[in-house]
Subunit: 681 residues, 2 copies
């Protein structure tokens, strides 16, 4: 009940250790006043260039001059599963490349390094000035496509216009793009996920949630002069640390109406869906050992989302917290209304958001089920839709396309299409059957779109026919369809392509409604909201997270849980104490065998007050000297409310201590090659 | 958004067609003023004695002088599944006894007829006067056990003290108890549940959700001079009708704090659990045809609960509705506080409820998972717990026992223990594995109770060991344990008995905490609430539903759904129009074959404005002349908010028209024996 007491008006002030700061707006002056130290521009540049974004949704960092990357196991688990097979399951054995030649390419993995940030706000505002919501939305979309195209001079450059402060600022983020990412080392699944779902978002914790990747370019490891040496000393209690990573998204600046829509509608719907999906996947795994293996990845991400979404949901239901958010909004509105000029400019933005939210509620279910593909969970369907959309969109002018299909996005579309990731028809049928049933349930059996898709068929018939008859499991077939463009798509009688062709017009229709009636009004109102915040509270605030590089800071510090202090470190020995021998509390055989050799007092996991969120997984924890002392892999249960507000008393980031990384590489895994390569300090 | 507009202060007034009236408090005078007709005492007695309660949770009625009972298919589906086997599946073929000898006994089914109501308020209040919460709670429990024991003079008498108006009135309900209930006729599952979960709680509707049972006594059909003739004319649009049945429970008189606890905590938790359980069961069914059969019943009830609970949940989240409930409470509080005497007596009751609710929130999870058995879903576990509790409780004085184990409850405990209902170990293992996993998730792996139950074992290990090794599938084994009492339980090494012996002390501990710290305070506060309502609004109100006999009334009338009128009747022909040939929209072969013979214009389902809720399933819809014109089987989607308040503009009960019952018995099922027996008028 004491959660969030510090968050009121938090966005206006630099207090506590809150904030996910952009690298070009770090509050160096205020920071220096508080800590007597502040990152220099050189320090910031070095940290930025040593930081890596994994495009699928994680963070990472360079830890050697030869492109060696440290990230979480769970950020590589999809890759590890994809390069495994029924005969050779690396989730069971772990993976340790004995030489460069054995480093295994991850299908579909892309890494980005942020090389430049530039402000394109003026250019975009000039294009939208004076336009009504929908026209402004379309004009902005077209100009963003143009800016990104101009910037993306080759496939090795990734450019993204990032909307900050709800549209108060638009920055162009230019990344070096790498599409050859290989697995170097990973421990066993049981080691990385010790404690499984029960311990997820909990602390004390005992997870070696790490893996090493390497980035290649032209078949050679990339040179990375900017990288973090791994500290053999690790972090100290009370030490000031930094986290450089890519928080995926926060809703801290959302209005009360938006939070209520989330709390009372979209979040419960998500939780019902994920709960049932989890039940299905868990039972599917009982079919056999191979089925357990192939569904592990899906189940893992479902359980993780479920626990994270539940945490967010319960935090929104905490009355004292919500009352503070309401008070915060009232203060903001009072200040706007007190100034006649501000009132004229911004006074009606809350009502505009309410209106957009009402329409959002009406369109939400068809939007997420058809366009968001919640009703069409299937890798094959995803391939099919991408193929038919590439054909259709590439035929249009760049500025008129769906944003994900602009010229600047071609490299990732092609990589995804040609990914060698295996597809399992047995699991595909269950996922598609399940999600089609949920589609029919959400929209109702009499909905015209449902009638058109289903006809007289059952979900299982549709799924079975489409999966069993499809040739899209074959990369060559997908390549031919991609290269053949619209004529190839038109000629295809692949049943999954046919299903996608049937659904896509319905999905596009609801997408257009959503853009025209929800997104455009909402984005205009949010832009106003961002501008009003600037006008009222000045510039010393950080934008909501956007899966772009941010710098957080915090101290290594426990907390008080219901009156009991939680110590900020665990040890390797603690894992042995907690082990039961049964999943998910079973230690891997390698650990049991190595126990006599291990220094059981080695610090294993630790917590800091850093302000992080999903997407920060794999972020380096560094000290003032830019040495890597830890590897972020989770937050505690209180951190989940961090989506809406930060409470320094309870909110903690959870990391692997570098001392445990070095000790286990040495004494459990004998990973001498990795150990020799990482710079240690 | 127009829902519930009529409910404000509805409990104070007889307006609209709201109300689930007790048979001894029917507002005959006011009713007569409105309708120019009122039931006489004779009419009420006849209707009461023609009405049947099915103890597992349904309503029914006599439709012949020889104990023939009409109820829903879904009220008999458990029986139908229990008497089926892999080789003979009556859910597929339907059931039609060709003679009395073929009528099949339903394991575990009990039927009750209400023969007498008497007021025991004064007797109970005398025992609790001046006592503190916990002492009053215990004294009341003991006196109820005593009253029920005095009343239950033989196994064929069932006596229950019913708490009405939250404890404003305590009535003793005396029933004739019948434990030999046999299946006479049932159509196919596909016919009864046409449209399945997608159409559940929807209208227009095409369900022949009916079955015929017969009550036996000493091996002979019971004589039932009081029964309803079945009307061949059916109901007319606009006709006044009555529903005599057993609404299971409503929360209309709950305080805002109680509703918030439900909306923001207990209901979401229930929905997460049911969603995941549903996902598990649905996937279990893909193992094969037999697995589909044995899980059908569980899945059906899970889906039905899920949809009903979701409807209630969304209704609590409707802002205009909730604001009305808040306004209603403010008015009530204002009136209490305006009168110094009332204020002194009742002014603090809302604060008392808040306090009890706070404690309820803390104890809720262990209470429902351990004592409520949400963490131990298994028929075998249920048997094991009943056996060990019978042994322990029967050794105590009657007044000190857990209420379900008093002397008056022995007949149903024995019947349940000796039930021949089949148990399927394969499904048992999945259910118990699932629920044990949820138990660990809910309480956390470090909870002392979890540690004690689990030790180092996994949920699947515990479930597999307990189910595979248990002999409790054998009725004779259960009988021996029941008759052997505590020594037999102590000596048993049946692994399911052992699991129950391990869990039960933990369950009893939390049960005691819940009773002492939540229930006793809450029941005192609710008693005050009921008394305060009487004091403020007088006596012209009906009590919340309690699964006891109530009389509702209403007219056959459609409604307006988003501006479009919904006609109150469907026809048999409509079912053929809606059929797709695929589950759940596949008509049974018997229907397809019979189509040329059928009068397709025969009215099939219809709606009335009657105020009903779950438990009313199987209730007769009767006209002023006490002729049966319909069979309640559902409510529309708006009826689900009826748990909290009644809105006559939208809330509809859904029934099978007697014309469809007679037409299908005749022309589809050739059920001449049933047709000849029912009196038709």
């Amino acid at each position: 009940m004491r959660r969030f007491v510090l968050i009121a008006f938090s966005f206006a002030l630099l207090h506590g250790e809150e904030g996910m700061w952009t690298f070009n707006q770090f509050p160096a002056e205020k920071f220096k006043q508080k800590y007597g130290f502040s990152p220099t521009q050189q320090w910031l540049d070095h940290v930025r260039l040593s930081s890596v974004r994994l495009a699928e949704g994680c963070s990472a960092s360079f830890v050697s001059p030869n492109g060696l990357v440290l990230t979480n196991y769970h950020c590589a688990v999809t890759c590890i599963q994809q390069i495994s097979s029924a005969g050779k399951d690396y989730t069971v054995t772990g993976f340790n490349a004995a030489s460069g030649a054995e480093e295994a390419k991850c299908p579909g993995q892309e890494a980005n390094v942020l090389v430049e940030i530039s402000d394109v706000t003026a250019r975009l505002k000039a294009k939208t000035a004076g336009l009504a919501d929908k026209a402004a939305f379309d004009a902005r979309k077209a100009e963003i496509a143009q800016i990104e195209k101009e910037c993306a001079t080759s496939d090795s450059v990734r450019c993204e216009v990032v909307t900050l402060y709800g549209g108060g600022i638009y920055d162009l983020y230019k990344y070096r793009r790498y599409q050859d990412v290989r697995l170097v080392f990973a421990p066993e699944f049981a080691t990385a996920f010790f404690g499984g779902d029960p311990d997820n978002f909990m602390f004390p914790r005992y997870n070696l949630d790490m893996s090493f990747l390497r980035i290649y370019e032209n078949g050679q490891p990339v040179k990375t002069p900017d990288h973090f040496p791994i500290s053999a000393a690790g972090p100290k209690e009370g030490e000031l640390t930094f986290v450089s990573g890519h928080p995926g998204g926060t809703n801290r600046q959302h209005t009360i109406d938006m939070l209520e829509l989330e709390r009372d509608y979209t979040k419960p719907l998500t939780l019902f869906y994920l709960s049932e999906y989890r039940g299905m996947l868990g039972e599917f795994q009982t079919r056999g050992r191979e089925q357990q293996r192939i569904a592990q990845d899906d189940l893992l991400f479902t359980e993780n989302s479920l626990k994270a979404d539940k945490g967010e949901y319960w935090s929104l239901l905490e009355k004292p917290f919500f009352q503070l958010k309401v008070a915060e909004e009232h203060d903001f509105q009072k200040r706007v209304n007190a100034d006649p000029k501000l009132k004229a400019q911004y006074g009606d933005l809350w009502a505009e958001i309410v209106k957009a939210d009402q329409r959002a509620r009406q369109l939400y279910l068809p939007y997420v089920y058809l366009e968001g593909m919640l009703g069409l969970e299937s890798d094959l369907y995803t391939h099919a839709r991408r193929l038919i959309r590439m054909a259709a969109e590439f035929a249009k002018p760049n500025s008129e396309r769906i944003p994900r299909y602009t010229d600047a996005r071609k490299p990732e579309l092609q990589q995804a299409t040609l990914s060698k990731a295996p597809i399992y028809p047995e699991l595909e049928i269950e996922k598609l059957t399940f999600s089609l049933s949920k589609l029919r349930e959400a929209l109702g059996p009499d909905d015209p779109a449902v009638r058109q898709i289903f006809g007289e068929r059952s979900p299982r018939e549709i799924a079975t026919d489409a999966v069993k008859g499809s040739k899209l499991t074959d990369v060559a077939v997908r390549k031919a369809l991609m290269e053949g463009g619209q004529p190839a798509i038109d000629a295809s009688d692949d049943p999954m392509i046919k299903l996608a062709k049937q659904v896509d017009p319905l999905a596009r229709k609801i997408r257009k409604q959503w853009e025209d009636e929800v997104e455009s009004a909402r984005s205009r109102a949010l832009e106003k909201l961002g501008a009003a915040r600037f006008a009222v509270y000045g510039t010393s605030l950080y934008p909501d997270a956007t899966f772009t590089l941010r710098l957080s800071y915090g101290t290594v510090k426990g907390w008080n849980e219901n009156g009991k202090p939680v110590y900020p470190f665990t040890t390797l020995g603690g894992a042995f104490d907690r082990a039961t021998g049964r999943e998910p509390f079973a230690l891997a055989p390698s650990w049991l065998e190595a126990k006599p050799r291990l220094n059981l007092k080695t610090p294993f996991n630790f917590v800091t007050t850093s302000d992080i969120i999903g997407g920060n997984s794999g972020s380096p924890v560094i000290n003032k000297d830019a040495q890597l002392v830890g590897l972020i892999f989770d937050g505690n249960i209180h951190s989940l409310g961090g989506n809406y507000g930060f409470d320094e008393t309870l909110n903690r980031a959870v990391a692997v201590d570098t001392r445990a990384i070095l000790e286990t590489l040495d004494n459990i895994y004998h990973a001498q090659r990795v150990l020799d390569e990482v710079s240690k300090k």
